[in-house]
Symmetry: C2
Subunit: 394 residues, 2 copies
């Protein structure tokens, strides 16, 4: 195995940390990154993937496991990269794709991060894991904790959609509904768990969810024949996916699997009612100011402040990308068009990427011959209440 | 390509039919089976699968396509076969697995059959497709019709769970709610569609959904290293999955990929409130009498009479299997145990397989060292209303 150490993502100069003991944030407050012996991994061949299972664990040399560790897997990752010719035609694009993360366990991309995080949590001796969540991360954590035999404690805003609560409960988690937003849920989860030694898997407050998410970059490369797309349009709440993919690009380039210098432009999509990264990007700031009165139907985008804000902004800028927000109405329209034209079940966050693409095409920021990937981070099923169903005959 | 003709599944002796034109049932009323040049396929090697995508189309030599056909694919099939050690320990079984079909597009195994059926429908020139459905088949058809650019008309019982209606609508289908059960929906769909030339994809009333479903057998073999399990426990409404797997076993044996003589016992699970196959099996009959007053929370099992009844009964008997029914309460208990112990999101139909296994272990019909596969045919998300959520703290 090539997993070697943890280090500050900033980096602040703090010494490397031993991943065989528990670590959450760097002493400077920044997220920690898992690091690997990338020089040694230059002897790892793409050919070896031929005989591996179609889950994110096919890339295990670049995942945080040690000899003897057993991944907690429910079939996550290696989701389809679907060509979307009808949506493309509507927009005048010749190479539009949708990475359909709804085909993960618990119907969302959150399964990736929880598979790696819970694998590490168990290896580190945790018996109870906890998470503050806008919904899907809690469901995913509940599933992997169940599969690992760990107790799961999920903290959600009281007004979260009912399906999230019910799915978490079905998967054996204890759910606590709290007043406020995910940031408030995080505060209460930490208060409850700290004295009891719960392992906190809050976004970017432990180093391993990011490692699961970065495999989205690996899959893009493998599915496109070891090249990157031109444009990646990604809905960003906590931002682990975007930050993770940026880290994944670097790692695959460093081990020689993809030629450097051709990374995609990373487009961050947020909701009009909660767009801290969009504001910070527009103002040229390195960090984002917390949003007050955050509101959107896309629970995953209702994140008023993110511990990884500076990492998101860095990746967007380094890639030549941008950040923009869309309305809730445009997200729903995006969900409906993905469904009607391509048969893809999209969450509002997925619909948001299509709404953003509309704007980028209109403004000329995406060229018609570019290879564009929209990330549908989850399915519609937990969000059905946001849709009306006026076309049913009775 | 090796797809050659259609023939009666009975068989009644009718001549072979040309699959380049539309056919639904045999002139004798029995389902039609797609047939292949299996002798020629003995030169097809398992090795060829190494470089193929993880969908059911990896087995395209045994699927109903001709040169130039483009499969309509949304990433269906090649679902995980999950080891279930905690459930196994609870039951005293050493090798219990769950084939988790919830990781298909639209969250159920119905995606398999619709991928192949809609691929053929489009190749045959259909512009409108229709289906009577208890829920999931309609959602899956809607998705594949959208991806194929076809109009979709879905006919459902009026009392179906709301999530099915909403998902179908999101995926662009026109939904008509009808009084009665799936059999009534089928009658009305046929009345509406016949004069208009709609392509009817009712269960087993066209030959191609079965072909998608049979790939579950192929995947079992590939995922178990080219052997069959000892026992397959499968929830049967229309029965396409069970009949399809039995056909798939034969085909893989005929091309030499799996040794003959070791097929699993096929266990059909139905609901106490709708168990026509269980009754016919117990009485030693070759066909099933229609159930009156069919009722169960498992919409997919609320099928009072099935055109493929004789094929189900034949497969169950030939395999040395059995048929049994379980209560709605036992299904819900099964859903909760799959969730809590293994992190698997199960539909009531999936929960029913676990409830059946409880009974089979208790009666000694399954041995503790047998390799048992439960089929979780779909996820819990469209069924959340059947669960209470009493464990949430407020």
């Amino acid at each position: 195995m090539s997993f070697t150490h943890l280090e500050c993502s900033r980096p602040c100069g703090a010494p490397a940390l031993d991943p065989r003991t528990r670590h959450h944030l760097c002493r400077c407050g920044a997220p920690l990154f898992a690091r690997y012996d990338l020089a040694a991994l230059r002897s790892w061949t793409r050919e070896s993937l031929r005989d591996r299972e179609p889950t994110l664990w096919r890339y295990r040399e670049l995942l945080p496991v040690f000899p003897g560790d057993t991944p907690i897997s429910l079939g996550e990752g290696y989701t389809p990269l679907l060509h979307a010719p009808r949506l493309g035609a509507e927009l005048g694009l010749s190479a539009l794709f949708v990475k359909d993360e709804s085909l993960n366990p618990t119907n969302s991309f959150k399964a990736r991060g929880q598979s790696t995080a819970i694998t590490r949590a168990r290896a580190l001796g945790a018996t109870t894991v906890s998470v503050p969540t806008a919904g899907n991360a809690g469901c995913a954590m509940a599933a992997y904790a169940a599969a690992a035999g760990l107790d799961a404690r999920v903290f959600m805003p009281r007004d979260v959609k009912r399906a999230f609560v019910e799915e978490c409960t079905l998967l054996g988690a204890s759910v606590e509904l709290v007043d406020g937003l995910i940031t408030d849920a995080g505060r209460i989860a930490a208060q409850r768990g700290a004295p009891l030694g719960w392992y906190d898997v809050s976004t970017l407050k432990e180093p391993y969810r990011l490692e699961g998410k970065k495999t989205m970059a690996f899959e893009l490369a493998e599915q496109l024949g070891w090249r990157w797309p031109d444009v990646v349009i990604y809905p960003t709440g906590g931002g682990t996916g975007l930050i993770g993919m940026w880290k994944g690009f670097q790692e695959l380039e460093d081990i020689g699997w993809v030629a450097p210098g051709q990374r995609p432009r990373m487009i961050s999509v947020q909701a009009d009612g909660c767009a801290p990264i969009v504001a910070a990007f527009a103002d040229g700031r390195d960090t984002a100011a917390p949003v007050t009165d955050a509101h959107t139907i896309a629970d995953g985008l209702r994140v008023p402040s993110a511990v990884g804000d500076f990492l998101m902004l860095r990746a967007i800028r380094d890639s030549g990308g941008t950040a923009l927000s869309v309305s809730d109405e445009a997200m729903i329209d995006g969900m409906r068009r993905m469904g009607r034209l391509e048969g893809i079940s999209a969450a509002p966050e997925g619909g948001a990427t299509l709404a953003a693409l509309d704007a980028l095409v209109a403004s000329g920021q995406v060229d018609r011959d570019e290879l564009v990937v929209l990330f549908n981070t989850g399915g519609a099923l937990k969000y059905l209440e946001v849709l009306s169903t006026s076309s049913v005959s009775e």
